[in-house]
């Protein structure tokens, strides 16, 4: 990891091969800190840090078995712990009369291949920060894949959960910014204004999903040829400002201009964020939640849809379609939390 593997390459039969080389492994006695983006893959909190009556398992992954899903059409294990919607304090305020952009991510379809992560990075000029910064937990990805392992009666269950800005309607980041550098659009986007940001990082602290990314140093460089790859539609951020997933706002605007030029409304599926476009499993669906006929609205109305950390009442615009596990004896197994 992080080491040149070229010496292992051999040229045989007209191709370069990495396999079949004769190697030996010896103990060096040295340790090496791996540049790992996530420390912790367990969805259950450590047993030593629990009290009686507390759920060890964090209710982050909605789950059900195939048999149960066929029978009930809903999730056994919701993302939230029995949250009741208490309604809005001021329902007339901030209505979304035009579009209301939203996203649904299918956890059953997601294989954790990370194509969306790479696509997002390329589309949005997300800086590559290098090994040392990754070790310091400062990776800049706007979209990450949370991977959780869970012990299921001796077997390991894995769940992949793509995680990006949830564009909350009650965004905790927006209220705390002293200079209004992060504000809500009338189409439900949580927008980050880079040139207004002074970098207090309060928004990132107050984000329950921790999807905001801070430019700890000046990551962009003027003198590199790699700048030829930058997307001209997206700002390159400077040191000291916060950034995060924008729902590919540049693509939304491009589609809007195009539709206006052609004198037609934006159709469902016209706007494709980079993550959705590149997902081979079609696990990510973006669209207008105000349009009942849009693909995303239909997924939200379906039985597998849940929103993460709904009990905090941040009202995220991103939702997940729970995992359906196809196992024979799963009927009585899924309730482990």
């Amino acid at each position: 990891m992080g080491t040149n593997a070229a010496p292992l390459l051999t040229y045989r039969d007209g191709t370069l091969r990495l396999s079949g080389a004769a190697v030996s492994v010896t103990r060096t006695g040295r340790t090496h800190e791996l540049a790992c983006t996530q420390d912790y893959h367990n969805i259950e909190v450590p047993e030593a840090l629990t009290v009686p009556g507390m759920n060890r398992r964090r209710p982050l992954i909605g789950e059900t078995s195939l048999a149960s899903y066929k029978k009930n059409g809903t999730l056994d294990h919701h993302g939230h712990g029995g949250h009741h919607d208490l309604g809005e304090l001021w329902p007339e305020d901030h209505q979304y009369n035009g579009h209301h952009w939203g996203m649904a991510v299918d956890l059953t379809a997601c294989t954790g291949c990370s194509a969306c992560v790479v696509a997002c990075q390329v589309e949005n000029n997300v800086p590559v920060v290098g090994r040392d910064e990754v070790r310091r937990k400062r990776i800049m990805h706007w979209l990450r894949i949370d991977r959780y392992y869970c012990d299921n009666h001796g077997e390991v269950d894995v769940a992949h959960q793509p995680m990006m800005c949830h564009h909350c309607d009650h965004a905790p980041c927006e209220t705390v910014c002293p200079v209004l550098a992060t504000v809500h659009s009338e189409e439900g986007l949580n927008q980050q204004t880079y040139n207004r940001c002074v970098g207090t990082r309060y928004c990132a602290n107050n984000c329950p999903y921790k999807v905001r990314r801070f430019n700890w140093f000046e990551y962009a460089r003027e003198d590199t040829l790699a700048n030829m790859m930058l997307n001209p539609d997206v700002t390159v951020r400077s040191r000291g400002v916060m950034e995060k997933c924008s729902f590919c706002v540049q693509r939304i605007e491009e589609v809007r201009v195009e539709a206006k030029r052609e004198g037609r409304p934006i159709a469902d599926g016209d706007v494709l964020p980079a993550c959705q476009q590149s997902c081979p499993a079609r696990a990510i669906v973006f669209g207008d939640m105000n349009d009942p006929e849009s693909a995303v609205s239909k997924l939200i109305a379906g039985g597998r849809h849940y929103r993460l950390l709904e009990e905090t009442n941040v009202r995220p615009s991103v939702g997940y379609l729970g995992l359906v596990r196809n196992r024979q004896d799963d009927e009585d197994r899924t309730h482990h939390g």
Binding site: Y40, R58, R144, D146, V198, N205, W216
Partner: protein, 454 residues
Amino acid sequence: MASAPAAISGPLILGDKSPGQVTDDVCSALERGPARSWWIAIAISSSMLLLGLITVAYQVLTGIGTWGLNNTVGWAFDITNFVFWIGIGHAGTLISAVLFLFRQKWRTSVNRAAEAMTIFAVICAGIFPLIHMGRPWLAHWMAPYPNTRGPLWINFRSPLVWDFFAISTYFTISLMFWYVGLIPDMATMRDRLTGGWRKKAANFLSLGWNGSFRTWFHYETVYLLLAGLATPLVVSVHTIVSWDFATSVIPGWHTTILPPYFVAGAIFSGMSMVLTLMLIARKTMGLEDYLTKRHVGAMCKLLIATGGMVAIAYATEFVAAMYSNNDYEQFAFINRAKGPLCWSYWIMVSCNVLTPQILWFKWARSNMVVVFVVSILINIGMWFERFVIIVTSLHRDYLPSNWTGYAPTSIEIATLVGSFGLFLTLFLLFCRFVPVIAIAEVKGVLSHGRKSHE
């Protein structure tokens, strides 16, 4: 305490001093050249300050990435130091304003130094919100002023904006209060000095004070009004600072106990800092007759009281979290006590809850070494209290995928050292150039010329 108890607990100022002696005692220390120990002290403190200046310059030029922060822990030493220094300031306001309104006459020996401490602590505190920004050169955007960017207004919903108002108000009132209290003493200095820039400065700062009845009348009225204005600040400033955390959604921050908890903690930490400085000043400047064991004893009792409130707050937030039946909330508190950063929690509890209990004993309160050690331990404990609240809540929140650790870099530690350097340098300069005892006020509580009454 004003009249009757004097017979029981003895005079406030020892040595049966006459008013003239008081003036001589306080002013002669300023008129002499600085002692060798002062030069050594200021050499150390200004070196610490220089270290801090260099590191701040380095981090402003390079980036906040020089700190140990990460995507999950966005605040650590910076805001810990900020809340710590703001808290220190509160004792000064409590002593100068609240104890004045309650006619606690023992405060007269302590209030000048305590108010100076407040001002210097608020200066130290004010630096951290500036330098913790990603782009500190744009800090003026936090202020609401007519501008050419729209005009673009600030976000009045943000607790950081409330902080801005709370702290600037606090600094202004504290400075005014301190300065108004200084005017009669500046006139005393003006009258004693024979020439030089210090006489000119004292002449200007005494605002033509002539000691007439009218002057005293106006002075007393203004002082009382300012005390009344400053009193709500003892409660409001740290309440507003606590809202930085209480209004958030992060388990461990999102709790309604924080405002009273912060206010009690602020007074507790400030009192311990006043004691630390008082004991040093008493010893090094030969002020044993003015800063008596009775003063130290009174401060110790305040430490027991406020320390008790802090202990109740620690217990209450723990019980409230357990009672909440909220998994995230319960975990946040168990993680404080037993998680990877539990050492900071136990430093906090042992320094702030256990240490002050020794002050229940009279022998401990009258042993200056014991009191000094206790005050230092409480200073440390209260710094860790803020560290615990900020870092242990952030580092493990809702999604386990975000969980990280935190360790400070040398840059952060040097910045903290630098803030102590600034504080001590300012305090040492204050000791050299301003009467550390409020001469005019102390004269009002002398036992000299009084018989059995008072």
